[in-house]
């Protein structure tokens, strides 16, 4: 079970694996897994899991929609 283990496996195409291997040669990444984990974390950090709009964002959008005539 994935939740019992600290690590699990995902499959990527071999040519992509090799491309990454080339790319991280002589860099601070010690393995393809390290690199892939780093990149995926970076991407996930950008997407929010919570509400779509913060309170301030929602206020901004509401105001705009009001000025466009959608809300009144």
């Amino acid at each position: 079970m994935a939740e019992d283990k600290k690590y699990t496996t995902v499959s990527i195409p071999t040519p992509l694996f090799e491309k990454i291997q080339q790319k991280i040669k002589d860099t601070g990444f010690t393995s393809v897994s390290d690199y892939v984990t780093f990149v995926l974390r970076e991407i996930l950090a950008h997407s929010s899991d919570n509400e779509a709009f913060s309170e301030e964002d929602e206020k901004k959008v509401k105001e705009r929609l009001k000025s466009l005539g959608y809300l009144d």
């Binding site: 929010s48 779509a52 959008v61 000025s67 005539g69 009144d72």
Partner: protein, 462 residues
Amino acid sequence: MKVMVVGLDCAAPALMFDKLKDHLPNITRMTENGIYGKLRSTDPPITIPAWMVMATGRSPGELGLYGFRSRVGNSYTQIKIPSSKDIKFDTVWDILGKRNKRSIVVAVPPTYPPKPLPGLMISDFMTPDKDKEFTYPPGLKNEILRDFPDYQFDVKFRKPEKEKIINEIYQMSDTRFKLVEKLLKEKPWDFFFMVEIGIDRLHHAFWRYIDENHHLYEKNDMMRNKFISYFEMVDYHVGKMMEMMDDDTIMMIVSDHGAKGMKGAFAINQWLIKEGYLKLKNEKVAPGASLDEIEVDWSNTKAWAWGGYYARIFLNIKGRENQGLIDPSRVKDEIAVLKEKLKNIRGPNGEEWKTIVFEPEEKYDVVNGDRSDLFVYLDDLNWRAAGTLGYETDYLLENDTGPDDAVHDYDGIYIIYRKNKRIGKKIDSSIYRVAPTILELYNVRKRYGIKGEPMEGIEYVK
């Protein structure tokens, strides 16, 4: 096979196929050689939910989306703005993605915050700001802001500096088209779906310059010419995209609804007060106040309304709203009476109106989400509804939230064009057929089992 969907929000058949035809050589070439016609929009015929109906093939009732706001629970005043997270059904790009097709999706409402997909996504005009994550993958944002620092999600058009606004709309759309042309050229894709919101903004702010029958008609050659040159710019970019097509690419131009001149705004909550449905604690109200800014006597209120291009009316029902007044056993009768009263509203000079009133269950097989008890199209949508109150009259010749010239009409447009095919057929269709048509073109419609049929005549382009 590749499909490019170019969405032109609010593009109206009378303008695109007739009045502006001579200014639109590329689009006219598409109609002459493709299939085209009117595209009946959703009920209500509004940007939200219409684009998502197009992208999913699901009705507003299934999507649980009836406009630009939903009620939070059964609250009197709390509202929620729809976002991508409210879309619980697969879009065509989700379905194609699962079949290894890469999509480029640009500005389809509502796609903020952008959800992951195999491909690229830029979120729509409801994106709060450029400092937000408005692309998938996130890195695309930097590329866009580097190459197109003036990229805009939308314009603010209800302000008096008309000339400035029309230039801003032009700039916004021109930039978005340039951006998508760059993406189409440089990025790998199998499916493309964009929405340009500029035509909608142009119609609302400048309809009076092209419609001689509009009550605010203004003869102004400069504004009229600017209006037309906006469309020439759109046509130019359609031509640019046509140049990128090979024989196996199909282009669809679609709009989510049409447009017609606005006759005015009707202060629906004032009318509800006069009819005894809505009670305020203090009858003196500043002009333009909205219900959430004043004290409503909720425990003595039977119904209240939201304005917009159509009106939504909520009943105050015991056991549902926390100060409910109407006994649940009386709801049916109350609705029947209120419907009749609404249908009998007359215009400012006593003229008859063709007002359409319905309960959501009458239009949709499934009714999800926070729906109002009644949907009201005042005078067949010719009058918009003002939810604000405090006016001397119920009939406002301008919109309550600033100048506005146009309302929505039921029929948008569609054109399907494939290079080197000579078809030239006019067949009117429905917005519900767009998603099945796209899936049919990729030969995955039957396997996916989407509801609805593809457009008639699709065999000619296949």
